[in-house]
């Protein structure tokens, strides 16, 4: 994989929020790369900073520290409005809540065409509508839906509208922040299938944020496991599921219930005790590459141990 072209490089990204007197270190020193055309999965428990990471990358928040390099350019450097606009076209986002992410007062066509309007991508009204219709078809909806309002759609359909909106500006990179976790199981598949299809057809790159690990594994090429604002383990998805090294990853994996009664009867959960684990050794854990492409946050000592066992 390393021979692949890097689309996005994230270096020591930090995002701290001031809350009252204190600060919340929502993201605290993230470093990872995303390659062109891949799907990078980001998992972790609720509140570990996944959304913040996504939003900081796309500049919804100004990073406290660190760099986000997209196509070789620093996204967080000083930018003119024009450059920013250009950047906005290349990177897009799909949101978690299909109910909150569509403006209830706008028609579907206006929602989808928002990017077209902002960036002046359509020469005429007709061209604009054509593009909207095309996008609707791309996401499996049809023309008739263009003039309707979001509340008339089911969750899955709404999420697809959200995808169409993101696609309208022909982005290269899409951040999907838990795009399916608010959806019904039977509908999740619609969205995931669609995302896969789009990736194939348009060569998109995804940052896929989720806490549903089975879906993440299904869709991702590589997965990063986040814990308390930091990445604790990063590997290709097969590798991560087969050979989780970090105790937190292990506990996470062991907790997923699978639709398989037999298996469930015998499943044993591993419990991760951060107090114990983190206090084991005073040394700060840093990401180290244990095998090719498999990184884990560990101490020197642990690292040596891993090297032996693997």
């Amino acid at each position: 994989m390393s021979n692949q072209e890097k689309l996005l490089e994230i270096k020591n990204l930090k995002q701290h929020f001031k809350v009252g007197k204190g600060t919340v270190k929502a993201v605290d020193g993230l470093t990872f790369d995303i390659y062109k055309g891949e799907t990078f999965g980001l998992v972790g428990e609720s509140g570990c900073g996944k959304s913040t990471t996504g939003r900081t990358i796309i500049r919804l928040y100004n990073a406290t520290d660190g760099e986000v390099i997209f196509n070789g350019e620093d996204v967080h450097g000083k930018k003119s409005a024009k450059e920013l606009k250009k950047f906005n076209r290349k990177m897009q986002m799909i949101f978690q809540d299909p109910y909150a992410s569509l403006n209830p007062r706008m028609t579907v066509s206006d929602i989808i065409a928002e990017g077209i309007d902002i960036h002046g991508l359509a020469s005429s009204k007709k061209a604009r509508m054509d593009k909207v219709h095309e996008l609707l078809e791309t996401v499996g909806l049809n023309k008739e839906h263009a003039n309707r309002y979001p509340h008339e759609f089911s969750g899955g359909q709404r999420q697809r509208i959200g995808i169409a909106r993101a696609l309208a500006v022909d982005p290269e990179f899409i951040i999907a922040d838990e795009p399916i976790s608010a959806l019904d199981v039977s509908i999740q598949a619609q969205v995931v299938n669609l995302m896969k299809k789009l990736q194939r057809e348009k060569g998109l790159t995804y940052l896929f944020i989720a806490h549903d690990l089975s879906m993440v594994k299904y869709i991702s090429d590589r997965i990063g496991v986040m814990y308390r604002g930091e990445i604790v383990e990063l590997a290709e998805s097969e590798e991560l599921y087969r050979n989780p090294l970090h105790p937190y990853t292990q506990s996470l994996l062991s907790a997923i219930p699978l639709p398989d009664p037999e298996y469930e009867r015998s499943r044993k959960r591993k419990i991760y005790d951060p107090e114990k684990h983190l206090s084991e050794n005073g040394e700060k854990r840093v990401l180290r590459e244990v095998t090719e492409g498999h990184w884990i946050a560990c101490t020197e000592e642990e690292f040596n141990k891993f090297n032996v066992t693997v």
């Binding site: 919804l60 906005n88 992410s101 403006n103 209830p104 007062r105 008339e152 089911s154 909106r165």
Partner: protein, 341 residues
């Protein structure tokens, strides 16, 4: 879980042919297309209270337009020989309990006593002016003031609250402190100053209203915008590169509009009252023009003797208030996303 096996056996084979699954290809949505407003309107229509309110408002607005022209009297034409007549309405005068027969509360037929032939549907005031004409004329002015207040709410309140919340942080802090100060300054002083500078009358009243009248609205809008601006659809728009102007105009304002309308429903009665208070302290409308507030205030002194002077405008002011409140509550329900689905 019993099954009527025999019956099922009778089913013919062709029934088990694959069905036309065209439907599968096309996404469908149930029901007709309804926009947000249409939807709200549909729900409003089902709310008898709100509809009653709306109808009352429409009737009152209509009457305020045509009412003064419905008889030959003007609102300022005085005739002391027919002062303070109670209401008398043709036909209805024969229905005793309605009290529309020109007999005052002491039982004298004032029309007879004063030798008046004409009918005054709401009676006359101390100057012998036709109350019907004056009351509707007053309604017109009160409604005008109300409309102006609503306009101020829209222009100042919405913008102020919106800016405060949208820019947040220090801007918000400063703007909110300014409101505290505005509320702290006695606005009667400002009203008097306006009256001095701009002469008494509607204009001064409206200016006085615009000093603090919009504070409630700005609070509502601010609260809503604070909530909305972190909503994902706003974030989505920003990731698309939308400017602040676009976010405000396309996303925030349309979404607070419901709340704004509801708040307006409550602003309107308040404005009418505010004017009535000004009348009470003598700073209201410029005579002989009248507002509902000033008519009530003029008649108030003779409440015990000539209750009709207060009765009719009070009924109308109450109807307006009730109607706007009913409509406001109805709109709140109609716009409430939780009641949607």
């Amino acid at each position: 879980m019993s099954m009527k096996q025999e019956k099922l056996d009778e089913l013919s084979d062709h029934m088990f042919q694959p069905a036309n699954t065209d439907a599968l290809e096309n996404e469908q949505i149930a029901g007709e297309s309804t926009g947000f407003w249409k939807d709200a309107w549909r729900r409003l229509k089902k709310n008898p209270g709100a509809i009653t309110g709306l109808i009352i408002i429409l009737i009152i607005v209509l009457m305020s337009i045509i009412g003064p022209g419905m008889n030959e009297y003007s609102y300022s034409q005085q005739d002391l020989s027919r002062a303070k007549l109670p209401a008398k309405v043709p036909v209805l005068e024969n229905v005793d309990f309605l009290g529309l027969n020109g007999v005052d509360i002491r039982g004298t037929d004032q029309y007879e006593a004063k030798g008046v032939e004409e009918y005054f549907w709401f009676g006359t005031d101390g100057f012998g002016r036709d109350q019907w004409t004056r009351v509707w004329q007053g309604t017109r002015i009160s409604l005008f003031i109300a409309a102006a207040a609503a306009f101020i709410d829209f222009v100042i309140g919405v913008a102020y609250g919106g800016i405060s919340a949208y820019y947040g942080g220090r801007v918000d802090n400063i703007l909110q402190r300014i409101i505290e100060v505005l509320i702290g300054i006695p606005n009667l002083i400002l009203i008097i100053l306006f009256i001095l500078i701009f002469e008494p009358g509607i204009f001064s009243i409206i200016l006085a209203l615009s000093v603090t009248g919009w504070v409630g609205m700005s609070r509502i809008v601010r609260g809503q915008v604070l909530k909305l601006k972190t909503q994902e659809f706003v974030l989505a728009s920003r990731t698309l590169g939308a400017t602040s102007g676009r976010v405000i105009g396309k996303h925030l304002i349309p979404n607070v509009l419901g709340q704004i309308i509801i708040t307006t429903m409550f602003t309107i009665p308040n404005a009418i009252f505010f004017e009535a208070f000004l009348s009470f302290i003598g700073l209201g409308i410029r005579p002989p023009e009248a507002s509902l507030g000033s008519i009530i205030n003029d008649g108030f002194k003779s409440l015990q003797i000539y209750p009709h002077l207060v009765l009719w405008p009070s009924i109308i002011i109450s109807l307006i208030m009730i109607a706007f409140n009913l409509l406001g509550d109805g709109l709140r329900d109609a716009f409430d996303p939780k009641l949607r689905k």
